[in-house]
């Protein structure tokens, strides 16, 4: 039967082993980063079952394309991008919502001060205050580390629309998670410059 102990080492080493056909090495990568991918998909708005299905698909696609991962960035970021693309494909296919939807009434976010204090650092709870489009754009840019331009290209919507969604989403998150004194008016400027 051989050695049953899972391989150890850096992600890049495991990826190299996986590229050589070692499925146990890839299994270790799944073990390490599965939760991050599942979490990102849920934060993007996928329900738990869908998130898990897409996360599994993302790892299978990742295994097929593992030779393309050369270790220039983190494996987690690489596999998250694959998962995000798969989720976006599903969203667009099912046309669940229009990404150019009008902004929601922001009064509901601003008025729940007591609850906001109670869950100040709970990102998952805070994300629920965002519209689907805002949640998706914020999660793509801050969770999957996409630039605004990348998100606009993949979502096939104008860059300005992505920026608007991100800005509104950040404002809502800040109102929910950060005290007013910590809120800087142009937090997303840096990311916009990347796009």
């Amino acid at each position: 039967m051989g050695n049953e102990r899972p391989p150890t080492g850096h992600d890049v080493e495991l990826a190299a082993l996986a590229a050589a056909g070692d499925r146990r090495a890839f299994g270790e990568l799944v073990r390490r980063h599965g939760s991050a991918v599942r979490g990102l998909l849920r934060r993007m708005g996928a329900d738990p079952a869908t998130a898990d299905d897409i996360a599994q698909d993302a790892f299978l696609v990742g295994y097929e394309q593992i030779v393309e991962f050369r270790g220039e960035g983190a494996f987690a970021g690489w596999i998250k991008k694959i998962a995000a693309r798969l989720y976006l494909r599903k969203v667009k296919r099912e046309a669940r919502f229009v990404l150019t939807e009008a902004p929601e009434d922001e009064a509901s976010v601003a008025s729940d001060g007591a609850a906001a204090k109670a869950d100040r650092l709970d990102l998952d709870e805070a994300l629920k205050q965002l519209s689907k489009a805002e949640r998706l754009c914020v999660s793509l840019c801050y969770g999957a580390d996409w630039s605004h331009a990348e998100a606009a290209e993949v979502l096939n919507i104008p860059l300005g629309t992505v920026k608007s969604h991100v800005k509104r989403g950040l404002d809502k998150l800040r109102a929910r998670m950060a005290p007013p004194s910590a809120s800087a008016p142009n937090d997303s400027a840096r990311r916009e410059n990347r796009g």
Binding site: R23, A36, F59
Partner: protein
């Protein structure tokens, strides 16, 4: 959090993977799907190999069979023509030697044989 840039803080929070109680199960499901995929791929490759091998074997055998058949038929045709030549030669010799009496005797024997065959056939029925 007041001292931290909100954007940086948000990226950091996104980077913190939630803890799932079934994370080990998830990993097992992925590796099982990987193994299943590879097993299916092996079966498909093996099946394709078997079909291709069978087709190749059929082609090979049929090619040899056709070749041998044509060789046999070629030889057979040659032997048949030789046999026919010998037969016609002897037939000519027979008529040359015995004349028309031999022909009548042969015809009489043939009629006798035919009568015998007919009576046997009637008995059988």
């Amino acid at each position: 959090m007041a001292d931290l840039d909100f954007e940086t803080q948000l990226s950091r929070l996104y980077g913190q993977a939630p803890v799932f109680r079934d994370s080990e199960l998830f990993a097992q499901q992925v590796t099982a799907r990987l193994d299943r995929g590879w097993a299916l791929r092996r079966v498909l490759i093996g099946g394709t190999g078997v079909v291709a091998g069978f087709a190749a074997a059929v082609q090979l055998i049929s090619a040899r069979f056709t070749e041998e058949l044509s060789q046999v038929s070629h030889e057979g045709a040659q032997q048949l023509s030789v046999g026919l030549e010998q037969l016609t030669h002897r037939y000519d010799q027979m008529f040359n030697l015995g004349g028309s009496e031999t022909l009548w005797v042969g015809a009489a024997l043939a009629i006798l044989a035919l009568a015998f065959a007919v009576t046997r056939l009637v008995d059988e029925l």
